[in-house]
Subunit: 225 residues, 3 copies
């Protein structure tokens, strides 16, 4: 019996929501948020990427709001992180792995959903990337950090882009379930190896070491006070 | 003659917009913004929560754009704050009270609108919270601050959540107007008392004093330069 | 033969996307982002304002996603900025001019699109402003800066507002193409002169030198750690 792709998608998607709810909670504990801020940050981390994706695709209300399972899984993740400290080596390692797998999963679902909504390749890749890194990006912004996707440390966004591309190819071959599997496996492997061995991408082709424009051509915002 | 709930909602909603337009202006003066930045910040503070709510509910164009009264009330608030310094004790106190009442009002309208759009309980509570704290959250982000909802200082977001829950219960009993009234009164009372007596919520159940993960399981963004 | 306004709009709009893709890339090089962060920042800078506008107008999927030219032009801009250092005086000057022209163009397109969607004057001006400064605002937020629109340095947002007003007037006279032309010319001239001569807008009418509320009436978010 062939697997129903959408059912598989939902299961993997919700696993990613659960893992990212926990991850958001770990960050919230690290930043010493109170209970409501804790749960709110966990929910935004877990659902943010999908909310942005669905808002941009404009296909009705976001699935994170209409399907009650999404908020429930995010809440379960937040609750687990609230009561279980996650400070053991194995807990942090498991979460690192879960984060890497969720990244691949969300890149694939975002791309597939965008292609299914009739978008072309480039927008579909962009939406895959946004779905995968969006929740973490909002979390970082809310915590006063420059999002990791711009951090240059390890191949986080790059991994999401690779997964999106794999899904796009396999989707066009009529194999979305394989696209999901390929994306999860390869993105997970790539980002974990990149984290382990501190792989980074090069910067711009011509780096101009030490160069900084005397005056930027754009009015870049002020430093914070 | 029974009160028309939606008319009552609109009046209280617009009062909240006016108060938050003034509050945004007070923050803008505090941060020494110029006239256009001043008005822009006041408008975003006053309308931000409703804009996010309506965007997520996806029921057509946001009411803050289609009903001209919303922008007008936000502009009136900005204009008042621009010309009246609001540095007297009673002015700041009145604004604190107006902020507390608006918080309850917006939590209630957000929840009621979400339930009316067919969402279930949890998403409706989330939308009530986002409606209530969304404008201030964007204002804080734009001003380079970590939003107060994550600040742990006093029960701001907690109050909004209480108001949302009250509205959800009374909405299901067919009493939305009472839900609005209950939310405004109890959220106003709770947040003002919490501010006065510095009530805070506890953090995570197991606190792990002094603990900080040697390496977070997620690639948390960089510190700002 | 009369010019087709929408065709002219598209050409100018895409030129603005190209220029802002390059500008986003210049900022990305300045902040030493890696290749994926570089391209992502360039795309967000180039398409952010239009994405917010289309999301708020809720007229279906954003044009930046459905018309493949938008992402292509943003990518071309990113690629140019990636390979060409843009550190020469003339390159920075050309980009400054292109940025000023794009500001006027986007203020005009945002306002015209909002009026065409049936919105009234005030929301249309707000959407013109958001379209014009939105991409740069998100770029600044993501880079950990307070957006330039709140920076008080030169008349950036003010220029966009002037262009929006011109478009609104000429649109109501049935002359949208002239509104576009007027907006580009006057916003370009105004912002370049303001940059050259460091023109700024005044702050609030009553400034209260040295005043800072002992306690703000709103719970303003925490400073970053």
């Amino acid at each position: 019996m062939p697997l129903d792709p959408s059912a598989v998608f939902d299961v993997v998607d919700l696993t990613g929501v659960l893992a990212n709810g926990i991850l958001g909670g770990v960050v919230a504990r690290h930043r010493k948020l109170d209970a409501v801020g804790f749960v709110f940050l966990a929910i935004i981390t877990a659902l943010g990427g999908g909310l942005i994706r669905d808002t941009l695709l404009n296909l009705g209300q976001p699935v994170a709001l209409t399907n009650p399972l999404y908020l429930m899984f995010a809440l379960v993740g937040a609750t687990v992180a609230y009561f279980v400290p996650m400070h053991h080596r194995w807990a942090l390692r498991s979460l690192t792995v879960a984060d890497a797998l969720a990244l691949g999963c969300w890149a694939a679902t975002g791309t597939a959903k965008a292609l299914g909504a009739g978008l072309t390749l480039l927008p579909a890749l962009l939406l895959g990337l946004i779905t995968a890194v969006g929740g973490g990006m909002i979390r970082d912004l809310l915590m006063g950090r420059i999002p990791a996707v711009f951090g240059g440390n390890t191949l986080y966004a790059t991994g999401a882009l690779v997964g999106s591309a794999e899904m796009a190819i396999l989707w066009h071959l009529g194999l979305p379930t394989w696209g999901m599997a390929a994306s999860i496996v390869s993105v997970g492997t790539l980002t974990l190896l990149a984290r382990r061995y501190r792989w980074t991408l090069p910067g711009p082709a011509v780096w101009l070491e030490g160069w900084s424009p005397r005056r930027l051509p754009v009015a870049l915002g002020r430093r914070r006070r």
